[in-house]
Amino acid sequence: MSDDLDRCDVAVVGAGVAGALIAYRLAAANYRVVMLEAGPAGRNRQDLVADYSLAAIKTPRSPYADNQPSSPVWSPDSEKDYIQLGPSPFKSTYLRRVGGSTWHMLGNMPRHVPADFRLATSYGVGVDWPIDYDDLEPWYCEAETELGVAGDHAELNGLHGAYRSRAFPMSKIWPAYGDIFVAKAVEGLTFEGADVRVLTTPQARNSRPYDGRPACAGNSSCVPICPIGAKYDATVHVSKATTAGAVLRTQAVVTRIELDSMTRRVSALRYTRWDEQGRRDERRLRADIYVIAAHSIETPRLLLISSDSDAAPTGVANGSGQVGRNLMDHLQGQMAAVVPQPLFPYRGPPTTVGVDTFRDGTFRASHAAFRLSIGNDGMGRVETPFAALEQKLVEGLIGSRLRVALGDRLIRQFRISYSTEMLPSAHNRVTLADAVSDSFGMPRAQLSLHLEDYNRLAFEKAAALISSIFDRLEIPDSDRKPQPKDTYSGAGHIIGTTRMGTDAGSSVVNQHCRAHEHDNLFIVGASTFPTGGTANPTLTVAALALRAASKISSLLQRGS
């Protein structure tokens, strides 16, 4: 390969949804775009499904042989795979491969609600975003069309003030048998003065053929892989981008962002191409505009690693000292149960409905907003079907008695989980573990997290609400399995670490995701969120990326 030093209009680091959307939009506008992706391109989807089916534990990483610990771009699969400084563990993971973490995401695609953008003004906690819902609304519509989101327009239009100017491109994903049962059971229920209503969840999963991909057929394995591509993943836009002329370099790890010491603009990206035989090849790429879309842990890591004693002594874009800070997730918990009536789980997408009532309210001054998702996957992690089997075998059952007793339990397994918003906090952060480097010589990231009362209180509230739903379902206490106090799991939502804001002294990028300090550098992804919001992040990531793409396009047009 002779492209040791090459040039393009736009260089994109990371071929996840954020990077791929930008690459696609700009390539379609005839700019020369190069995507550098650390991970490999996918193997055939069915081969990934094969590995998934053989894996003893179906973890999010299980289908991806390329991302196992032996790979140079291994990806974390649990909290144990991070260097944790504590006091509380950070639990969400990501995937380094073409398409990024969307491969193993669930696919829920709600929008933020207006108050999510002005937490400080409305409730005196957190910070405000430099943009509001109105700014983002048209981009939400575009993002829903790009990703292919199925949803119930009439039901969700105006949710907590989140108006919708355009219908979803597809009608909703059907709620499951059990969901309908639960929705009926909670009719008329109020909690802390508010009506508890079960609403359908918008999701990037096809309810009819869309964009050349089939309708969801209920394979129920969305996390970690949709065998038929009915769920969106970013390979969709990676291939749209390359079809539009973008160049994709896979197995290309960006190791350093280089700055021009005079102008402080980015002058090049340094990257290493690797292969399975252990060969490494150092390269450089120059561009007019650089986009970092490496997700909320790898992005700050790369910015910090690229510190330059002259032009960026504490790290690229880090004049404010905010790079790596305000690490957030949606902390989750669940209550599982065995319901008296059969709900027939394990048949459709893992969740299709939820309770959005407590995504906003004055309580946000004192505890986190939360959303419930009603599960369609039995008891989730609390008791897998295999655990139920073990239990019945230990009871000494065999033959038809085993079949009937096991079946009877499985069709009545149920869970409701809650997901709570974290506040941004300077001491929750990604820093560099200077003494520990990866095989590219890059210091590894280390994480600090603190569980706050703001979330603890929300855990209690959510658990109380779920209990009252369980009461409606007449579930005996002995059949309920609550989440142990002060424990949580991760939502897979890695947020914060390069926050956007108007003030260069307290934020990393401006409202267009452009770095305050380096005017040809854009940083996109959930790392730019000033607060976590009450929605799963990816739709907002996509909306912001599309908005940034349009900004970049107008900058390139003006030739700056």
Partner: protein, 397 residues
């Protein structure tokens, strides 16, 4: 062509028959697809593929049912009445204006090619456009899309204020019908939107064909052909008969070859299938004829769709797994046989009583059949679900 209400009603009725017929032939093909490794002839990867194909065909069939329901809404709004009769299979080439025969054929390249031709977009047709006259019977058209174009033309050329009857007729919406995309018809705008929706789903639009029925069938055909080339032993379908029938009805045998199911048990099951299928149609017809204000509309829609998904589907699959008794290794299959347009009476309480009685009788028949030694597993499921349905109707009385 001249515009008149009666011309419009007749075109819409033809559309109903056609959509309905397409839905049945798609369902028949889907029922014939193997579902389990132990049926033989499949590796697990092939099983993945065939299950996807089955789900895609079910998807298209469900959209044809939506189109039927949508045509019913339009019919009801312009002074017609929902209509569910159609000729039995196989259907004569000359019966519909597009000159393609409808038949029940198992999943395979031949069936898929047929499906592709049903759904071909007008601009890709190679047939010449014939001059159309007002006297043609049936009206000539070359594709489903063209039939809807004729309907659209009629709606545009008839005075809106006289054409549509205000009230609840024709206004069945997503809330009660289990069709999230159905459009209640009130006026010309909604009627035209409905027609656009139907043609977009079927053949796509000029700028996007990729997600149409046409494209889905083409994709499926291409992957089937590739897989067959890779593995000649690959057999995704059960060896079901073409146009199987449990009994010879009056109008059968007229337009093509039918194949009698000779196994007595399979034949009884075939009758049960046809009877549940008729009941489902009668329930839906009543709901759509009465409109959303009817006290039984929601119950009838729920019951009918539950019957479709939890009784008719497993019965159809059970039939495709049973021997036909013809001694040639062939399997039976669902006939989708209809005899007469026996609608439920308009009066809600009488309709409910008649439906409940019928469901009860069918549940009893199913229970009897389920005790038979060679009843496949699907029958047990269908029987239990039918009992539930009968119970729901009975308790509403």
């Amino acid at each position: 062509m001249q515009a008149s209400r009666s011309r419009l009603l007749s075109l819409l009725t033809e559309a109903c028959e056609l959509e309905h017929g397409l839905a049945c032939s798609y369902l028949f093909a889907a029922f014939s697809i193997k579902q389990d490794l132990d049926e033989g002839g499949l590796s697990w990867k092939q099983l993945q593929a065939v299950r996807l194909w089955a789900s895609e065909i079910y998807m298209v069939a469900a959209e044809e049912m939506l189109h039927l329901a949508q045509a019913w809404n339009i019919l009801a709004a312009v002074g017609g009445s929902p209509y569910y009769l159609r000729p039995n299979f196989p259907q004569r080439r000359s019966y519909y204006g597009f000159h393609l025969p409808l038949a029940l054929e198992r999943f395979g390249p031949s069936a898929l090619r047929r499906f592709v031709s049903y759904e071909t977009p007008a601009d890709q047709l190679i047939l010449p456009v014939d001059a159309r006259t007002d006297d043609d019977e049936p009206t000539e058209y070359r594709s489903v899309g063209e039939l809807y174009a004729l309907i659209r033309e009629q709606i545009l050329n008839l005075p809106e204020d006289q054409l549509f009857f205000q009230g609840t007729q024709g206004e069945m919406g997503p809330d009660i019908t289990h069709f999230p995309n159905i459009i209640p018809i009130k006026d010309r705008v909604s009627a035209l939107a409905a027609i656009d929706m139907i043609t977009e789903q079927g053949e796509g639009t000029d700028y996007d064909r990729g997600d149409s029925h046409f494209a889905v069938f083409q994709r499926t055909l291409a992957s089937l052909v590739t897989e067959k080339e890779r593995d000649p032993a690959f057999e995704p379908a059960r060896p079901v008969l073409e146009n199987p029938v449990p009994r010879i009805r009056g109008d059968w045998n007229a337009h093509g070859k039918i194949n009698l199911i000779r196994d007595p048990f399979a034949s009884q099951l075939g009758d049960l299938f046809d009877d549940v299928y008729s009941l489902m149609l009668r329930l839906l017809q009543h709901a759509f004829a009465s409109g959303p204000a009817s006290k039984v509309a929601e119950l009838f829609c729920d019951t009918a769709i539950n019957a479709m998904t939890t009784v008719i589907k497993p019965l159809g699959e059970a039939l495709a797994k049973l021997s036909s008794g013809r001694g040639d290794g062939s399997h039976a299959g669902a006939a989708f046989g209809l005899t007469r347009h026996v609608t439920l009476p308009a009066a809600e309480s009488i309709a409910l009583a008649v439906a409940a009685e019928c469901a009860h009788e069918l549940a009893e028949t199913a229970a009897e059949l389920a005790t038979s030694g060679h009843a496949p597993g699907q029958l047990g499921v269908a029987e239990a679900n039918l009992k539930q349905i009968a119970g729901a109707l009975a308790s509403a009385r």
